[in-house]
């Protein structure tokens, strides 16, 4: 009985910690410059799970993409280790999902490497994507 109560309290505490941990980053939104570049089709979701520049790169655009990709890679590395997978495997899987989540008008990279504009139709993804 006592064990049960203590277990319940522990679970509640863990749940609260988890909720706080998830809620804080989820609140974060895209940087306005990133959101604008995305909407304008200057950057797109690459098939490897990283952001890519579509068309002519500029120093500002390159800096923006590098900044996001460095952060993505850090997240991929941590998650890959947790799942006993390689960074490339986790990045590729996340890329599948990120391409699925693109909105009409945004750019994504097709399996052949070309950049495509997302329409209301499902995106052209790698056949290995879940």
């Amino acid at each position: 009985m006592r064990n049960f109560v203590r277990g319940g309290m522990l679970a509640a505490a863990a749940g609260a910690a988890l909720a706080v941990g998830i809620a804080a980053p989820a609140m974060a939104q895209r940087d306005p410059a990133y959101a604008a570049a995305r909407a304008a089709g200057k950057v797109g979701e690459g098939r490897d799970g990283y952001l890519g520049i579509v068309g002519q790169p500029t120093p500002a655009l390159q800096r923006l993409v590098d900044d996001i990709n460095i952060k993505r890679r850090a997240v991929y590395a941590r998650k890959a280790q947790e799942n006993n997978a390689t960074i490339e495997e986790f990045a590729f899987t996340a890329g599948c999902q990120a391409i699925s989540r693109t909105e009409p008008g945004e750019k994504y990279q097709a399996p052949d490497g070309s950049w495509k504009t997302r329409t209301s139709a499902p995106p052209d993804r790698d056949p290995r994507c879940p």
């Binding site: 998830i22 980053p25 989820a26 974060a28 939104q29 895209r30 940087d31 996001i68 952060k71 993505r72 997240v75 991929y76 998650k79 947790e82 799942n83 997978a85 390689t86 490339e88 495997e89 986790f90 590729f92 899987t93 996340a94 599948c96 999902q97 990120a98 989540r101 290995r128 994507c129 879940p130």
Partner: protein, 88 residues
């Protein structure tokens, strides 16, 4: 797919080697000479087969591992994107 091709030639080389030395019906000295001539040729062929596909094998493994692993990672990858909405 390519993997099957890569292992294919190796298997074929072995069986041809077996059939070369396994031709016991042929008379003694003749057979020895034939074997001596065939063995270096077969070994040479084997060496070329092993060295050439070094790079394709590495790519092949990545593709094979991914296909199985991707489904295992899918759920966590979706969570990761939602938890890091600012960089996705």
């Amino acid at each position: 797919m390519t993997r099957a091709k890569l292992t294919g030639p190796a298997g074929a080389a072995k069986t041809s080697a077996k059939s070369g030395t396994g031709g016991r019906a042929v008379a003694g000295g003749w057979r020895r000479q034939l074997g001596a001539a065939l063995v270096p040729a077969i070994m040479l062929g084997g060496c070329i087969n092993v060295n050439a596909p070094d790079k394709p094998i590495v790519i092949e493994l990545n593709i094979n591992i991914r296909q199985e692993v991707i489904y295992r990672l899918a759920e966590d990858a979706a969570d990761t994107i939602e938890e890091n909405a600012d960089i996705f």
